[in-house]
């Protein structure tokens, strides 16, 4: 199996700590971590913080997808919008979005709002670019065919341009998905009172390292599985791609 080395790594981890080769203070054993994680799960800390994180991430990403996607397609479709917003988008592109963490806190404090805003702002760009490039790649002949078959200009946008744009848009959303996790964890590590990132920081500062490792692994693998799931979904949805 492809992931066998990971399994072996886990076994090595457990063995090395159990044999005392590495101090338990630095690296809790895998079994300790699992136990601590299970406790967190049972006592609800994982669920509570997880729900907060999911809520923020989900909402921010949703806004980013809807508004960013719309924006990208509009920019691709109407030259005037493109001319106006295009250079702006290009100028803001190299700006690292995590740098906005202190600003969002300044504006909206330590709660949900600042995280949602951060994720919305950060994730909008890859979605917009994906939608834009996807819409631009729509072949002229497809549009003409639809028009000659009776579709109105607006109808064409929905029937032809949007589906054509989907593959690239899907790619942009995939990037945004990964970015959501990063921005979420980053901001929660630094300026939050709940959420996965906060929980990690809290446990770390309290010296409860086995639980800390547990949450770190949970978050890391959540990011991995979210990406895999998304890919599967997209492969299914976009099966018509050649």
């Amino acid at each position: 199996m492809k992931y066998l080395p990971l399994l072996l790594l886990a076994i090595v981890w457990e063995t090395v700590v159990q044999l005392g080769l590495i101090s338990r203070d630095l690296l809790p054993s895998l079994s300790d971590v699992a136990r601590a994680g299970w406790t967190l799960l049972r006592e609800g800390d994982l669920w509570q913080n997880g729900a907060a994180s999911l809520y923020r991430g989900g909402l921010g990403l949703l806004f980013a997808i809807v508004i960013g996607g719309l924006l990208g397609i509009l920019m691709a479709w109407w030259r005037s919008v493109d001319a106006f917003l295009g250079p702006l988008v290009e100028a803001l592109y190299p700006m690292p979005k995590s740098a906005l963490i202190p600003v969002t806190v300044l504006w909206l404090g330590f709660g949900d709002g600042s995280k949602i805003l951060l994720i919305f702002l950060g994730c909008m760009l890859p979605v917009t670019l994906g939608a834009y490039n996807g819409a631009r790649s729509c072949e002229q002949v497809l549009v003409w065919s639809a028009r000659s078959l009776g579709a109105s200009r607006l109808r064409v946008l929905w029937d032809v341009v949007l589906p054509s744009a989907l593959p690239e848009l899907a790619n942009g959303i995939r990037t945004a998905l990964a970015l959501t996790f990063v921005l979420l964890v980053s901001s929660e590590l630094i300026v939050a009172r709940s959420g996965f990132g906060y929980l990690i920081g809290f446990l770390g500062e309290g010296g409860i390292y086995d639980a800390m490792f547990a949450v770190v692994l949970v978050v890391a693998f959540l990011g991995f599985f979210a990406d895999r799931l998304y890919q599967r979904l997209m492969d299914r949805l976009l099966a018509w791609r050649d």
Binding site: S98, A99, L189, V191, A220, G223
Partner: protein
């Protein structure tokens, strides 16, 4: 010509819009200080030396991490392509690690390596190495068979093949990986600094936000944006120099 000026025009436009909007009274100076206030603040920090201290430290950490990530990343990429053992071990690590929010490991790295530069640089390496490795692997696998065969046909040994043919052929794509990795290095460093506090652009910004020092926070944003922009331009220049022979940079054919 227009293409060169256009981005500057929109930045200028953005700057003017910022200033006007901030002065308009629609938002408080706290929420959005005027651009002039922010620039003034940057000037003061520059004069006092604080700006250079923060910038210098952040750049030192980010670029050191980037350099390590670049060299190790290229090395690991080659290892994966040429060694079956390396491929078996590293492939799952790479594909699992890539979509992970690696910043979640920051507290673990802090636990192991303390609160000084080493932990920040390590965090940078951990994040920045992935795009380099994947780019190197893809680039090396994509080297055209006929280039390798031609070189062997002309008498090249296996070792000569690697550094005389494979490396230059793979370089364009590897460079792209490096160009993706550099901004990542910068932002990861800043986030780590925000978490750990202290000196550095990130630390300064989070301190400013804790003291409700709005101009300080916005000054930080502008400084980071400029630093990021300069680094990206420098990389593009390096790319143009190194890859002068590449079709995308070469002059069009005359015949």
């Amino acid at each position: 010509m227009a293409r060169l000026i256009l981005p500057w025009i929109s930045i200028l436009g953005l700057a003017i819009a910022w200033e006007l909007f901030a002065r308009s009274g629609a938002v408080t100076p706290f929420m959005l200080p005027t651009l002039t206030t922010v620039l003034e603040r940057m000037w003061i920090d520059a004069a006092s030396g604080e700006l250079w201290q923060n910038l210098g430290l952040t750049l030192y950490r980010a670029l050191t991490g980037f350099a390590v990530a670049a060299i190790a990343g290229i090395g690991l990429g080659f290892a994966v392509v040429y060694s079956r053992a390396a491929r078996w071990l590293l492939d799952p690590l790479i594909s699992v690690g890539f979509p992970m929010p690696k910043i979640a490991f920051l507290p673990v790295i802090t636990l192991w390596l303390g609160f000084h530069d080493l932990s920040k640089i390590s965090m940078v390496v951990f994040d920045a190495i992935f795009p380099v490795v994947t780019a190197t692997i893809a680039a090396t696998l994509a080297v055209e068979r006929e280039l390798l065969w031609s070189a062997r046909n002309l008498g090249a040994s296996e070792r000569e093949l690697l550094h005389e043919v494979v490396f230059p052929a793979a370089l364009p794509q590897i460079m792209t990986g490096l160009q993706v990795s550099l901004p990542i290095a910068l932002i990861v460093c800043i986030v780590a600094e925000m978490k750990m506090g202290g000196i550095g652009l990130g630390g300064a910004m989070i301190t400013a936000s804790r003291f409700a020092d709005s101009p300080g926070v916005f000054a930080g944003i502008v400084e980071i944006a400029i630093a990021g922009y300069v680094l990206v331009r420098l990389m593009a220049l390096v790319r143009r120099r190194l890859l002068a022979w590449h079709p995308e940079t070469a002059a069009p054919a005359t015949v």
